[in-house]
Symmetry: C2
Subunit: 168 residues, 2 copies
Amino acid sequence: MAQSGQSTTGQSLLFLTDEQLRKGTEAMFFAYRGFTADPDRILSERGYGRAHHRAIHFIHGSPGTTVNNLLGILGVTKQSLNRVLRTLVEDGLVLNTVGTKDKRERHLYLTETGTTLERALSDAQRDRMRAAYRAAGPAAVAGFRQVLEAMMDEEMRHHYDALKDKAE
Amino acid sequence: MAQSGQSTTGQSLLFLTDEQLRKGTEAMFFAYRGFTADPDRILSERGYGRAHHRAIHFIHGSPGTTVNNLLGILGVTKQSLNRVLRTLVEDGLVLNTVGTKDKRERHLYLTETGTTLERALSDAQRDRMRAAYRAAGPAAVAGFRQVLEAMMDEEMRHHYDALKDKAE
DNA sequence: TAGAATACGTCAGCTTTGTTGACATTCCAA
DNA sequence: TTGGAATGTCAACAAAGCTGACGTATTCTA
């Protein structure tokens, strides 16, 4: 066992060895692969990639979102996003409507087919997360979220909080 | 606040709402971007990418490892790894020696230049992780690691454990 | 109301990093 | 000793990111 959780005061937690930090980075690396593995399988069956998954996920979470907003969340260029979005619209998974208030904007929605795929993807991903959560217990889950949130960039945390608030 | 950490018995943790799980996946997504952001900056200055970082990281952790072993850890094809390795050897960051016992194998080592870059990269990455760890506290860190480990594929956990044991 | 700014889409071309296929070398076992 | 398995290299291609330039429609502002 490592000497990380000794102090319950939270005061003397300053000895973070290189070893502990290295293990943390490797845990992130290996866990992220597991995190994406199950949806990746479903996606590749249908000729989609992780980029499509991300678009579908956030359109599902914020129906009617604009292209510009999605760009901020995903942190890619519009050319890159456009390529993905175009195939999703062509394949009938995403709907693209002209803005009501500002006609320059395009609002994005999942069609029924899109929603079905979203559910398949998130079910697969959540099964693994659910299993991990159960194995680790509620206290561990709280810590997991705390560390992840502390690891985000400022800008990313804004997007994260905005999405979080929406549901509460 | 969510209703996740209510029970201290760890018994009745069965109500994992879709909402909680969704937030977990988004936390992973946004945190992973932060996790890679700092090294990415250093790498792009020198014309390298994340693939180079991964190779350097694991060669540093297991000096003398073979190409085949590295393939198992990274989970890519040998052709893909080879391209990265070749540029690192050409640039004098990695040393490639013919196996002594089995001449088909190549043993990989970091040169002094390679070690210097490794240090710069891991310093940058660890600064952020250290800050996150401190902000979240030791109990949260323990939970963080627990959940990540539970999220890995079997095969990945084997690699992870092998690397972990090496240092203990 | 004219011109600047914004939102979106697209064309062209490049880079990184993954893929499959073909092939040389080396080792081992029948 | 020879044929198959293992290790690693070269070639060509695909996905998905990037920059830069440009067009169009719309909105904002001086």
